[in-house]
C-alpha cells in the first residue's frame, strides 16, 4: 500500500502533519512533503490523517506494491 495525495486538491493546511508526522510534513515554504511508503505501525496515524484532511485529498492506494 502507498499513500497518494491529490496535489490539485491539497491546500497545505497541515492537519495531516499533526496526525501522522512520520509521513507528512510542511516544509519551510509551507508546502506539503510526504513519504508514499509507510511502516505498518503508523497505519492508525495515517488513517487519522485521511479522516482529518479538510479537502479529503489523501488516499491509500491498496494495490500499489
Amino acid at each position: 500500500m502507498k499513500i497518494f495525495v491529490d496535489r490539485i486538491k491539497c491546500q497545505n493546511h497541515g492537519l495531516c502533519a499533526i496526525s501522522a508526522p512520520a509521513n507528512f510534513e510542511l516544509d519551510t515554504d509551507g508546502e506539503l512533503q510526504y513519504h508514499e511508503s509507510f511502516d505498518e505501525e503508523h497505519i492508525d496515524d495515517i488513517e487519522d490523517a485521511i479522516d482529518s484532511c479538510p479537502l479529503q485529498a489523501i488516499l491509500l492506494n491498496r494495490d500499489a506494491a
Binding site: Q11, N12, H13, G14, L15, I18, S19, L26, G30, E47, D48, D51, S52, P54, L55, Q56
Partner: protein, 401 residues
C-alpha cells in the same frame, strides 16, 4: 527608498460598512491589502491563501477578554484553554485527537436524520407560504443537530440555544457588562457536559460524543476529562450560531438567484454540495479570519511587524476576479477554487464537515419544497463585520406541489 504602494483605508467599524460594496472592490483592485483601524485587511485571493496557512501568524485571540476588561472568571479560564486560543504543542495534541470524530465517514450516517429534521420543521409552515426563517427553521435545525451529535435530549434544544447565545456574548465588545451572566452559563454548561461524559462512559451511544469519550479512555491521559468538557462547551459555542446564521445567509443568497435555486431543486443529489460551497463563497457568516503576526516578517513589499493584526476578508478573497470568473454570482456548474469561509491552516474549522453536510441537506430540502423564494424587506441583519447573520429573516414562497 522603495516606493510605497497605494493602499486604501476601509472603516470596518462603521455601521454602514458593507463587504459587498464598490468601496471594497475598489480597494481590492488597488492593492492586496487595505488599511483599517485594527491592522490590515487582506483582500486578494492569492495573499489570503498564502497568509492563512503561514506559521508566522497565530490566532491572537488569547487577549480578547482582557482587552475588553475581563481578567478572570469561568469564561476567561475556559477561553484560554479552547482550541480557538491554544497554539503549538498543546493545540496540536488535542486537535489531532478530536479530528477523526468529525470526519465525513462519521457524519455520513447522520444525513437521513438531518433530512427528517429539516422536513419536520418545514412541515410546520409550508402551507402558509411564508415564515420567519431564522426562528422557525435555522435556530431549531442548527441547535437540534448539535444535540444529535452530542447525544443531548432534543427536547432541551431551547435551553441549549439560550446558553449558546449567552456564551456568544463573550465575543461581543460588551463582554464586560455581560460577564456575570456569561460566567453563569459556562458553569451550567460545564455541569451539563460532565453529566454527558459520565453517561456516555456508562453506556456508549452511536454519537460523536461517545467517540470522543472513547478517544479519552483508549489513549489514557492524552485527552483529559477537563479537555473533553472544554471541547463540548466549544462545540456548543461555535457550532450553533454559525450554522444558524449561515443557513439564513445561504437562503438570502439563493433568493437573489432564482435560476440556481431551481437548478438545485431539480437535481439536489448532484448540486447540494456545490450549493453549500457557493453560498459560503458569496455570503459567508465569518466575514473575516483574524490573525496576529507572531514575529516580524516580510510579505511581498510589506514588512509585517510582530503583533500586527490581519483580517483576512473571506467574501472579498472568494469573489476576487483574479481567481474566479463571474465572481459575484452563484454558479452551480462552475469549477471554483476553494474559499476560506472555514479559515485555514491548523486552526481550520473543526466541524466543517458537519456544517457542510447539514447545510447541504437543509438547502436540498428547502429547494425541493419551495419555489419563488423571496426575503422580506423587514429582515434584521447583524452588522456586516466579524460574524454576521440574520436576527429575523421573514421569507415568502410558493409551496411546490
Amino acid at each position: 527608498m522603495a516606493e510605497q504602494p497605494t493602499t486604501m483605508y476601509l472603516d470596518i467599524s462603521d455601521e454602514h460598512f458593507r463587504m459587498d460594496s464598490e468601496e471594497v472592490r475598489k480597494a481590492r483592485a488597488t492593492h492586496w491589502y487595505a488599511r483599517t483601524d485594527w491592522g490590515i485587511a487582506v483582500l486578494s485571493y492569492e495573499d489570503s491563501s498564502f497568509l492563512l496557512k503561514s506559521p508566522r501568524l497565530t490566532q491572537g485571540s488569547a487577549k480578547w477578554p482582557s482587552q475588553h476588561g475581563v481578567f478572570e472568571g469561568h469564561f476567561d479560564r475556559w477561553w484560554q484553554k479552547t482550541l480557538l486560543v491554544l497554539e503549538g504543542i498543546e493545540h496540536n495534541r488535542i486537535r489531532r485527537l478530536v479530528n477523526p470524530a468529525f470526519s465525513p465517514r462519521r457524519i455520513e450516517p447522520l444525513h437521513s436524520r438531518f433530512r427528517a429534521l429539516a422536513d419536520s420543521l418545514i412541515d410546520e409552515w409550508i402551507d402558509d407560504g411564508q415564515t420567519e426563517f431564522a426562528s422557525r427553521f435555522a435556530a431549531p435545525y442548527a441547535t437540534r443537530i448539535l444535540c444529535m451529535l452530542l447525544g443531548i435530549d432534543e427536547h432541551d434544544w431551547k435551553k441549549i440555544h439560550e446558553l449558546a447565545s449567552t456564551i456568544g456574548l463573550g465575543l461581543g465588545i460588551t463582554i464586560q457588562e455581560n460577564i456575570a451572566q456569561i460566567d453563569d452559563a459556562i458553569v451550567e454548561l460545564t455541569e451539563y457536559a460532565e453529566f454527558l461524559v459520565r453517561s456516555r462512559r456508562e453506556s456508549p451511544q452511536n454519537d460523536i460524543l461517545s467517540t470522543l469519550v472513547e478517544t479519552r479512555d483508549e489513549d489514557a491521559g492524552k485527552l483529559s476529562d477537563q479537555e473533553l468538557i472544554n471541547l463540548i462547551i466549544l462545540l456548543i459555542f461555535a457550532g450553533i450560531d454559525t450554522t444558524r446564521n449561515q443557513l439564513a445567509l445561504s437562503v438570502e443568497a439563493f433568493s437573489r438567484q432564482q435560476d440556481q435555486w431551481e437548478k438545485l431543486a431539480a437535481d439536489p443529489d448532484r448540486y447540494s454540495a456545490k450549493a453549500v460551497e457557493e453560498a459560503l463563497r458569496v455570503n459567508p457568516i465569518g466575514r473575516w479570519i483574524s490573525r496576529e503576526a507572531a514575529e516580524t516578517f516580510q510579505h511581498k513589499e510589506r514588512t509585517i511587524e510582530k503583533g500586527t493584526t490581519l483580517h483576512l476578508f473571506t467574501l472579498t478573497s472568494a469573489t476576487d476576479p483574479a481567481e474566479f470568473d463571474n465572481p459575484d454570482r452563484i454558479d452551480l456548474d462552475a469549477d471554483r477554487s476553494p474559499h476560506f469561509a472555514f479559515g485555514g491552516g491548523l486552526h481550520h474549522c473543526l466541524g466543517h464537515f458537519v456544517a457542510r453536510a447539514d447545510i447541504g441537506v437543509a438547502l436540498s430540502a428547502l429547494a425541493t419544497r419551495m419555489t419563488d423564494l423571496r426575503v422580506g424587506a423587514d429582515a434584521e441583519w447583524l452588522p456586516d463585520s466579524g460574524n454576521t447573520g440574520a436576527n429575523r429573516l421573514p421569507i415568502t414562497f410558493t409551496p411546490r406541489s
